[in-house]
Point group: C2
Chain length 438, copies 2
């Protein structure tokens, strides 16, 4: 019986270093549990000189990924280089050479998952990607295995640690978006170029992956509504507090009959919502199944060791298959790849939810009634109004929240309102989510 599983690691960055460290720290424990030794045979990276603070045996490091991809002894390839290329090519080659794959590469899976999963399926190859969404949190396994008997009614998730850190700081300690972003960058919680995180691109990749597992289908990133957090102001944070909400960048998937409503944007949620207390750089998933009811998962969505924990969880999962001489026990997207179809998305214009508007209006009698009139004509009912006499550049903020309204109507109404001569700038819109999604 096979007693050694040979691993090849491509990408010796932060997470790759974590994998090496974790194998060194817990390798014996893992071997005892698995009944086989995980042997990290090769590590490929363009830079094999820089010190990562871990020592690896001589001959392990290489600058050529092919030393892994062409090594017939290597059973599992761990791809941790990130980005589209050459990661895609390497994974396809690994599959072609009958090597199983673990990856944390959400960008690649969101954009090219269909191609990779189909290739893997054809060759009877496993692809593990728990680390691609929610870091150490076992959300992928929970959806694909634990909740498999459920129709997923909704998922509301905080999936980007950087955005959550910035919004949490702005809420709890104050400061403008730009100031808090700078601080996050200096602490290593945000990248030098933070676009992927703050504009919701990373989070959208993760939402796309969750959708494909939960609703057994393909989804195109461009079909998903995405808004980042860079437009959130201190004023909005303050008004949210006044209204009893916290603002979170939420990834939402909600079943609406045969269609799926999916969107990613800053969202006001009530203080007693289970996601409202997920702060700092933590991630969390609130999943409702039609039998399970609420299941809530929380933990570190990134970081060296937490992510390495998820990667090696996948490695052990695949190894357990290999030790039994099988593969493909759980299809990558739950359904057999031949059954994978396009997910029928609800058009974004048809989304119905509650809204927060912050109008910048001239402080003059009659303004409120003109705004309210336009909203009313567009079938939007006002739930609450906050108007204060503060002057800022001659404009006062008027804040309104609405009862359930339709996105199409809201966009039309705001288009009309923003053209009013008494309205000084673009109206800020933040959607509000009720406690329970349904």
């Amino acid at each position: 019986m096979k007693r050694v599983i040979n691993l090849g690691l491509i990408g010796f960055g932060t997470i790759g270093t974590g994998v090496v460290r974790l194998l060194q720290a817990n390798g014996e424990l893992i071997a005892e549990r698995l009944g086989a030794k995980l042997n990290l045979k090769r590590i490929a990276d363009l830079d094999i000189v820089r010190s990562r603070g871990v020592s690896v045996p001589e001959g392990v490091l290489t600058t050529r990924a092919d030393d892994i991809l062409n090594d017939p002894e290597i059973d599992i390839v761990i791809e941790l280089m990130g980005g589209y290329e050459p990661a895609r090519t390497f994974i396809l080659k690994a599959i072609d050479n009958n090597k199983h794959v673990c990856t944390a590469n959400k960008a690649l899976l969101a954009a090219h998952g269909d191609e990779l999963f189909k290739s893997a399926n054809k060759k009877g190859i496993n692809i593990g990607f728990e680390a691609s969404v929610g870091g150490t949190i076992p959300v992928i396994k929970t959806i694909k295995e634990s909740l498999i008997a459920n129709r997923i009614e909704s998922i509301a998730a905080i999936v980007n640690g950087t955005s959550n850190y910035i919004l949490s700081k702005m809420t709890d300690e104050g400061g403008s978006f730009q100031d808090v972003l700078k601080e996050a960058q200096s602490l290593g919680f945000a990248e030098a170029d933070p676009t992927f995180d703050i504009e919701g691109i990373d989070a959208l990749h993760k939402l796309a992956i969750l959708l494909s597992l939960s609703y057994g289908g393909k989804v195109h990133l461009n079909d998903l509504h995405r808004e980042g957090i860079s437009t959130i102001t201190e004023q909005d944070i303050a008004f949210a507090k006044e209204l009893g909400y916290r603002i979170k960048l939420l990834a939402l998937a909600i079943r609406r009959g045969r269609k799926i409503e999916a969107r990613l944007h800053p969202t006001m949620i009530p203080l007693d919502h289970i996601l409202a207390n997920v702060n700092s750089n933590f991630n969390a998933f609130h999943i409702i199944g039609n039998a399970s009811d609420s299941v809530f998962l929380y933990g570190q969505g990134a970081g060296m060791m937490p992510t390495a924990s998820a990667v090696l969880g996948d490695v052990v999962d695949i190894s357990r298959d290999l030790l039994k001489g099988i593969a493909g026990r759980v299809p990558p997207r739950v359904l057999d790849e031949e059954k994978i179809q396009e997910i029928a998305l609800l058009p974004f214009a048809d989304v119905t939810t509650n809204y927060y508007f912050r109008f910048s209006a001239v402080d003059r009698p009659g303004v409120l009634s003109r705004i309210a009139g336009i909203l009313g004509k567009n079938n939007i009912s006002i739930a609450a109004v906050i108007q204060k006499g503060r002057k800022e550049n001659g404009a006062v903020p008027i804040v309104m929240t609405t009862y359930k309204a339709r996105e199409r109507d809201v966009q039309k109404a705001l288009g009309q309102i923003d053209r009013l001569d008494v309205v000084m700038g673009k109206t800020m819109l933040i959607r509000i989510e009720d406690k329970k999604l349904s």
Copy 2:
């Protein structure tokens, strides 16, 4: 290729009814995901007359468990009758007849798991028991699979919904233990005989199961310290609030070097502890792995449909093995059964933690100093004192919290204090847990 997995259900109570309902509601979806149909071939129960609000095809119901256990067509036996016997005998017979088993029977597993798991291992049979701990929450799978690369540093868990409901009610709405228990019974949140729940017996069973998975070993129920919630008074709830704590019935497992500290008792936890906001009848698990850091799982720990979701999650898991022609992919207690040993428990007297004491003392000068003197002589340092002039049956409550102290010293000191002529009754002791366990 096998396209039908035949199931036999023994025990047609609440959860059994949930399994039938869930198969009827989501059977097609499950079949699509699994690539095979789950066919509930027989249901055995002593009472096959009572209406459960679900219809089953003619010929499915039987009063003889043997109609399932001896049916060569049945692949998986779902045991949902509960209790030690005849559940134990039925499961052993199922294993003997090469049938895989799913069970929610924590009492049986905690007491006889060793025998059942060893038998299953010998025959190459799977036993699924996700539903035995935490209802719908995927805690078993998370420990056995997702966190497999981690050394588990600690688990703090709320695993008994009835106790949590009662403590939450007492805290949020007031009332004595007895009054709230009665209300819980009338609402169906507590049994007519609530002993198993309120005395921590059910919770201890679950702690024993978690220990065996996390630390790869056997554990004897009698070796685990257990206290229930029936001694908690309104006074303690009020003092806890005053001190900034909530009282929860916590199941605790903490690694202390090569030994494991395991205990179940009412515990004061800070308001900002992640478990402090787990209220009503919800369950939750806060697991710290040495790589994963905190992983927090939350959901319904009981109930018809949430538990049925966990049962069918296991059924699908086993079915996925069967469709690949394998079994025993993940050993029931993570380690190969031949490697299972006794878990080395830290003797309870060696536990070191913080304490809350409520003394019932005569309202007379010098009492406080006599109590404090005894504590000091026993190496127990006082962190805070609350003494108020309230008279109750001639006694006043004196409340103290301590810095870290040793259980052995605490028991010795309380023994001495309770013998003082100025102390009117047994001192109340509640342990306090810090925010992070380590």
